[in-house]
Amino acid sequence: MNPPTPGDGGSQTVEQAARPLTRRTFLKGSAASALGIAAMAAALKPLLALERENLSVDAFLQKHYQELTPQELRRILDRLESECEQSRGIRPDIRDIRPREDTEFAYALNIGRCIGCRKCAHACIRENNQSRESDDDINMSYIRVLEMEKGGIDLETSDHYYDADQVPRAGKFYMPVQCQQCREAPCTKVCPVKATWQEDDGLVVVDYNWCIGCRYCMAACPYDARRFNYSRPKLSPDQINPCQSYLSNRLRPKGVVEKCTFCLHRTREGKYPACLEVCPTGARIFGNIRDPGSEINYILKNKRVYVLKEDVGTRPRFYYFFDK
């Protein structure tokens, strides 16, 4: 400990306060300010570290999606586009597409027609820019095609790693599972930061810039519908689908959760989702449940539909049915 110097302490004489700048006081002062600068730098260090990991200060200070003004959002979309161009070599068109008026999306899938070919799971990664090691890597696909023994729906003995020469195999049936866009979505209730929520048209979405990667939502989901980016998504420029939107298929950063959004960048513009577009047997039906003339309403009125895990009370917007 240094001995107390005269001048420290509360009572200062006029002589002490007004004494001229000596070499000693100058050195003391500059040492203190140097210390202050060092402390400042130390406090800012996490921000600098973020910059090194391609997360700009702008992105770090970004507000929640639902609190953004249109101008802020425009700036963010521009920033995301140029960041993608810098790091991936391709400039995507990232849009913010809002829910349509008087629209609520629902999906129906005909188990009697599905042959388990996995074309939907592969179309999903082509459309939604999931990370992949090769073109055939569908580990991050939002769709899992379950193979089950005929006679019951036993999810515990189902197999989505089946590698058959030809499908459908005798004695088996196939049930693709993806996000069910639940009306009582447990994933949105457990999120500690409200980074995932349900939109007016029923789609459950994620703000990838707000997600902290805790994966509570993955634990809460009864359908294994969410995927986590353990590493920075691996995608070559030719694998990137440039038609993107903020809440759906734009490139995700490392450490966030992603999920099926019924391809909202397509469906909110009136198109069919990608998994339906490729289904070779026409097993998938999609539409606006509030339009009485839609195909999905025809299914609900005329076919015997069921929902997956009805007992957990999630009230899905995804229906399954058996038909020829």
């Binding site: 996995r118 459309e127 459908p168 339906l276 025809y298």
Partner: protein, 207 residues
């Protein structure tokens, strides 16, 4: 014919006196457009592509009456059809040509009363027997729609019966599934030795 050319092209030892037949490259016949043109990254091929059109692939026009003006129509043939080798008839009890094909106009199909159903309106032919399926197809829930669910926002295409089903064998053939997801490496095999605890990307354990 395509059946003669294929084995020779494959390098089968032919008779030394005969020179090998030239292999004629012909482009596959154009398929009707399905869905939107900017969805090129999605494979929207219906399960039945050009099966049953081998004669078209060989360059024939699709005017059946070029031959059938001379060949009379018969209800039943007691021998395999040598002229239509690509036809495999597996349509249940519906096994007579003239159940569907028109007896005097082979470019068209036949209705209940013997009148003509043009080839473009083949759906009406199938609807003669498959009423409930026709009803669902008209409602847009049998078969696949492509393009826009909201027809006010853009066009959509609807596949017709024979774009997916081979009318002579309408049950979908089995197909090779696309590759599965990989098994989680740590769970793939329980390590058997104390040294083999390091998972490899291939899904096994390193020794």
């Amino acid at each position: 014919m395509v059946l003669c050319a294929a084995p020779l092209a494959a390098g089968e030892p032919a008779s030394p006196k005969l020179p090998p037949l030239p292999v004629v490259e012909r482009p596959a016949p154009a398929k009707p457009a399905v869905g939107l043109s900017d969805d090129r990254h999605l494979d929207k091929d219906p399960p039945r592509t050009t099966k049953g059109l081998d004669l078209v692939k060989l360059g024939w026009t699709y005017n059946c009456m070029e031959c059938h003006r001379l060949l009379e129509a018969k209800w039943h043939y007691d021998r395999p059809m040598a002229e239509h080798q690509d036809i495999r008839l597996a349509h249940g009890e519906n096994r007579f040509c003239l159940n569907c094909h028109h007896p005097t106009n082979r470019n068209a199909f036949v209705d209940y009363d013997g009148s003509v159903i043009p080839e473009k309106e083949v759906v009406r032919l199938c609807a003669k027997c498959h009423g409930p399926t026709y009803r669902d197809w008209k409602a847009g829930v049998h078969g696949r729609l492509n393009g826009h669910w909201d027809t006010a926002a853009g066009p959509r295409t609807q596949l017709r019966c024979i774009q997916c089903h081979d009318p002579h064998a309408p049950k979908f053939p089995t197909m090779k599934p696309l590759p599965p997801p990989t098994y989680p490496p740590r769970a793939a095999h329980a390590p058997t030795t104390s040294a083999g605890i390091h998972p490899t990307p291939q899904g096994g354990t390193a020794h």
